[in-house]
Symmetry: C4
Subunit: 291 residues, 4 copies
């Protein structure tokens, strides 16, 4: 009854929040598709700009396109900040920082000349694709892969650490055997070569020239060949195990009440993965749908 | 009783259909073997033609061979269209389009000069090998592999998408670090280099020259080394699972009546994989063998 | 009673047969070790001879060493032929042909000058190592690997065939896109490049230069990256299955009488893998030990 | 009662032993962290010294740093020898030899000029990291990986041996086909190239130029592609099996008394992996904690 204006204001905010943050309504879906198109367009603009021959011909139009994208992203960023109840939480969240970092460079290029290096930040826009496609969700639904990677993370870390140590020792030996005249200028470069060889990449910009160096290279390669089997075996076995566990748990779940996830996020605390029929946020207790 | 001519005509068509589309009769098998020989011969002709030194010497004979193959393939195409009950269905089927596309280029080269680019279409003839060898069938009989690939398709897609995003971000960073003077001319080329490195191909036509670039390259390679384990693990685990399922189902099947597939295809709707004793097409209900 | 001489002659032959063909007695083991040393020495001789700087200095001694090895191998070959009851069976067996082919080249070099190409045949001596080490036996004892490879052979063949077809189509496309000026001289060479790329070898002697060519190369590489998972997954799953089967069968075996293999081979028909207490050849019925 | 001095001396030794060899006490943990920092610092010094441009500028400071590290490592080595009851056992243990070899080079450089080659020995310091991080322990706790590698070691050895033989035969063939003019100077170099190709490293410093050579290279690559599946499959299957066994044994263990490992090592015989509540060394019977 009292202050109907804020009520109305609030209602408008809620509507916008639903469009921007959720993908349940047609408007929300449309917003996501449009955003996806603009993100991909902006990435293409960054790429085309870097091609000298294209930039020379179409510099003006690329710049115009870049400004259009930047202004739209700025509007979107402001809308996101306004509609969320706790703006600071969004601003310092992972996606909040990415949204800001991928919008700022263009403005900074006005103030400071030659901030060419900041172009890289614009590539961060690609990470935003994940939010729209809700890829994390998609992977999460069949989260055997995540479980497998998590379970094997520690072992793969130890394994990669062992690879780095092997590369350091082999790199030092190759530096002494081949020396500066054959491209093994110093130990860091030799280690770089060792990793290029152990991972079976083999650029060939540096290659052993002496018979002894080639013999040691042979050992490194055969070792790398045998080694490549280990992380594959670990992930494969862990994945098989997590798949089996998943199936057992699925059976258990089916016996209890079926629970589905919805695509909403709380307007108050940005928490996601609410149950499908949830009326209140499981995290902060605020109602999800304001009637 | 009335119109015995069309009956006879039909009979002739049915005979030809059996020879061309089926591999049950000796004539059908012979047809397949001859076709296989001509397809391989035609592929060899296309290859030899592209070798300048051979084309210079034997241009006339290669051209003659190419015309013989083209005329034979044209006759076969017409025969396929005539003997099938619903020609348009064949013409717009996958193999129908390939058959046409791999025959046309030679005729077009008469009308338009310099249609060199169409030579690629002739390479499509290789796809026809699959039909003759009934490889799809062969794989289908032991279709654990197909099931495994199908089950892991979605996950591998997400995974490859993540690889592409990683390549884009690393490509942009390397473009900024190495720059034009070291071969990283623009971002698309840098992304190309990133994928060359992540997939452990490593051509070496472009290679980092600065210490910082080589350090980032090291990270990309070790990452790619760890990453290669993931799709392998997925396919391996899914394959193991589908193999187990297959065995369970096989047991079930053996308890029911044994069912074998035959190599016939329906003359009416081109449907395949009929049961061995089938008299009528499971798809359109037409009889398979006209007595 | 009558003809004691042939009896004695036979006895001498039997003794020699035991030394050459079997590894049960100390003499037989010694023979194998000496043979192994000479085979490795002869391989090293072939290698050193090919190094120009070493051949220049030590040509005489390398030649002497090669003749010593050749004469010894000739004696061994003759001994093998004499002591076996059915010489022709040995001569036309796999190892019999290898033994001959790896001994002949040196003699032929006396008759014909410049038979340099035959040096490759001497490398076949390496295959003889397998016989001595009875590696096949070793692998056979734990024959899950063999079973796994056998079970997955058909699928891997189909798979590799698909890889070859993909390489042919991609090779043709790259030939048209890149053309002669960028090293893609003709279709066979382009197919060679496609396989170099699909298998993630990536020599870099030929590399795409045009943006379109690099884009197609990217697709080939990502495809190759996804493809590498398939044969690995197949072998891995088949190996797991054959391991399980193996264990089940081992349990069954242990319940029945324990059976071990001995290292003898029949003097009459060259059959191997006799049971440990076998007195007669399971293949031809001849006694294994003549008392 | 009698000779209280040695008692006190012993007490001091015991304290030091606990700090150096164990990671149970705060002092022991601090010692490990400091040692880790110095080892990494010393590795970085060796690397930086090898970079000509850095060595030119900061030669003096690098030398000073190297001497500080060397003196500290010497003190640590002496402390290790003194506090252990059986010094010779430590001196000739794996880590004892590494500790000595990684400390000596700097002293030798005073006596002999130009002992540049000994710089490699300093890289051995990296191996010391393993001791501090007790990585072996970490891997041991989840020792399915170790079991899997152990179980598949024999098969992978046979497999790698087969790879070496294949490389030798292919190397010899390629030497004959391509010859000296295309970089295949001699058989050892050709074998080096074969291994570079079979392992999919593909440097490209040597690459086949003749059509026949490229055709054989294609076969080698496709073979290597199929081969890469085998060791991966073996490790993967063995790891899956050892994981299953591990879980079964874990269940058994949980039914019996829970047993945890502690991080102490016996002062007398250097044995490790004592039970958590152990009072006496399981190896030599000496008390672990002298009260």
């Amino acid at each position: 009854m009292e202050n109907p204006l804020p009520e109305k204001n609030k209602r408008w905010k809620i509507k916008l929040h639903e469009i921007i943050y959720e993908a349940d309504t047609p408007a929300g879906k449309l917003f996501d598709v449009i955003l996806l198109v603009f993100i991909i367009a902006s990435i293409l603009l960054v790429m085309l700009e870097s091609v000298a021959s294209i930039d020379l011909k179409y510099h003006f139009w690329l710049n115009v396109g870049e400004w259009i994208v930047t202004v739209l992203f700025t509007i979107e960023y402001i809308a996101r900040v306004i509609t969320v109840k706790k703006p600071w939480k969004y601003i310092f969240s992972f996606y909040g920082i990415i949204d800001l970092l991928s919008t700022l460079p263009k403005y900074l290029s006005l103030i400071f000349a030659g901030t060419h290096a900041l172009v890289a930040l614009r590539a961060l826009r690609l990470l935003r694709v994940f939010r729209i496609l809700k890829l994390a969700r998609y992977l999460g639904a069949s989260n055997q892969l995540a479980t497998a990677l998590k379970a094997s993370r520690a072992k793969i870390s130890v394994f990669l650490f062992a690879v780095v140590i092997a590369a350091t020792i082999f790199g030092t030996i190759m530096y002494l055997v081949e020396g500066e005249k054959n491209g093994f200028d110093n130990i860091p470069k030799s280690i770089y070569w060792s990793i290029v060889t152990l991972t079976t990449v083999g650029f060939g910009d540096i290659a052993p020239q002496t018979p002894l160096g080639q013999f040691i290279a042979t050992i490194i390669m055969v070792l790398g060949y045998g080694i490549i089997a280990v992380p594959t075996g670990i992930v494969s076995a862990e994945y098989t195990r997590s798949t089996n566990n998943e199936e057992e748990q699925k059976l258990k779940k089916e016996q209890s009440n079926t629970v589905a996830l919805n695509t909403q996020s709380c307007q108050n605390c940005l928490a996601e993965n609410h149950k499908d029929k949830a009326e209140y946020c499981y995290n902060c207790g605020q109602p999800l749908h304001i009637k």
